[in-house]
């Protein structure tokens, strides 16, 4: 499973990341940061659709996104 983290204080709400995401899971939230920008988010229920492709982070002019990827387990049981 992969996920993204938005650094909300760096986000300027430009929404360029929303059109970069092939899964179309990024949207504008209803939160404003301290600078008055309405920040982007991936709704919790959609995060499992994230593939960790980094498209959103590449498009972001403000380095406001961090992308995490978990390699698929190779058959081994991981729930220990």
């Amino acid at each position: 499973m992969s996920r993204v983290k938005f650094l909300e204080e760096r986000c300027k709400g430009c929404l360029l990341c929303t059109v970069a995401c092939p899964k179309e899971i990024i949207r504008q939230s209803d939160r404003f940061n301290q600078h008055g920008y309405k920040v982007a988010e991936v709704p919790a229920e959609d995060m499992d659709k994230c593939t960790g492709c980094t498209s959103c982070a590449l498009m972001c002019p403000d380095i406001a996104i961090r992308v995490y990827r978990t390699p698929k387990s190779k058959g081994a049981a991981k729930n220990d």
Binding site: E9, L15, L16, M59, C60, P61, D62, I63, Y68, S73
Partner: protein
């Protein structure tokens, strides 16, 4: 963070961890990020001297973790020449806007390239003077409304927009010249590869490295960031085609 989880996108070390002053959606942010990522990946950060220019990128010295000289408006290629000749052991990077480079600084850029100075220049073309409020630049498209061309640029009075990377590609001292865009993920990846080439020709002492980045200025284009980004594809790229205009390394390999 689970144990196997990997951070696959992070800020490069060459980029200072501070917010920038750029407007929302301004692609100066992408251009300078690519520069910073390359400095980190190519191991150049410690050995780089940056020459910054006058325009919205004026505070670049605060954003890249390198020593810098601020050049007077348009004079960055002349300052970069001096820096490189004094310290030829250093990687010398300059970053200029289109008003700075193609208007007041036209003489400096032409002769720096023509002399084949071993420096790399990033040229951010957003078709306006961004910093001073959106006046017409030599790169403003025909018909484009700016504060000094309120009825739109008129080719019969103001001439046609200047295509810098083609012109630079014609000069004898140029080792690499290319135009890129950062309007989608595919173009951003290509832009980084091209910028890397413009850096490598300096490292190999092959001559002048030039990379033109088409970028948005949502504020002075009077558009939101998404519309401005669409304008890159629909209006800028048709007039400013993306591609490599000179690459001496390709000529050697042929």
């Amino acid at each position: 963070m689970s144990e196997q989880e990997k951070l696959v996108f992070d800020r490069a070390d060459a980029l200072v961890d501070v917010p920038t002053h750029y407007c929302p959606g301004c692609q100066h942010g992408v251009a300078q990020r690519l520069a910073g990522e390359l400095l980190t990946e190519m191991g150049l950060t410690e050995n780089t001297l940056l020459v910054t220019s006058i325009g919205c990128s004026v505070f670049l010295y605060n954003y890249l973790n390198v020593d810098s000289v601020e050049a007077p408006h348009g004079r960055a290629p002349a300052v970069a020449t001096g820096v490189k000749r004094a310290r030829s052991d250093k990687f010398v990077l300059s970053y200029q806007g289109d008003g700075d480079l193609a208007s007041i600084g036209m003489a400096e850029i032409m002769h720096c390239a023509n002399r084949g100075e071993n420096v790399s220049i990033i040229f951010v073309n957003n078709t306006v003077y961004g910093m001073t409020g959106g006046q017409m630049a030599p790169t403003t498209l025909v018909g484009q409304k700016t504060t000094t061309s309120p009825a739109g640029r008129n080719a019969s009075k103001e001439g046609l927009p200047i295509r810098m990377s083609e012109i630079i590609g014609q000069l004898g001292g140029t080792a690499y010249s290319a135009r890129v865009a950062v309007n989608n993920v595919k173009n951003i990846r290509k832009a980084k590869k091209a910028m890397k080439k413009a850096f490598e020709v300096q490292q190999k002492e092959l001559g002048f490295g030039f990379i033109e980045v088409l970028a948005t200025c949502p504020t002075n284009w009077r558009m939101d960031a998404l519309k401005a980004n669409e304008r890159i594809e629909n209006e800028l790229i048709p007039y400013f085609p993306l591609g490599v205009h000179k690459d001496v390394t390709a000529e050697v390999e042929d």
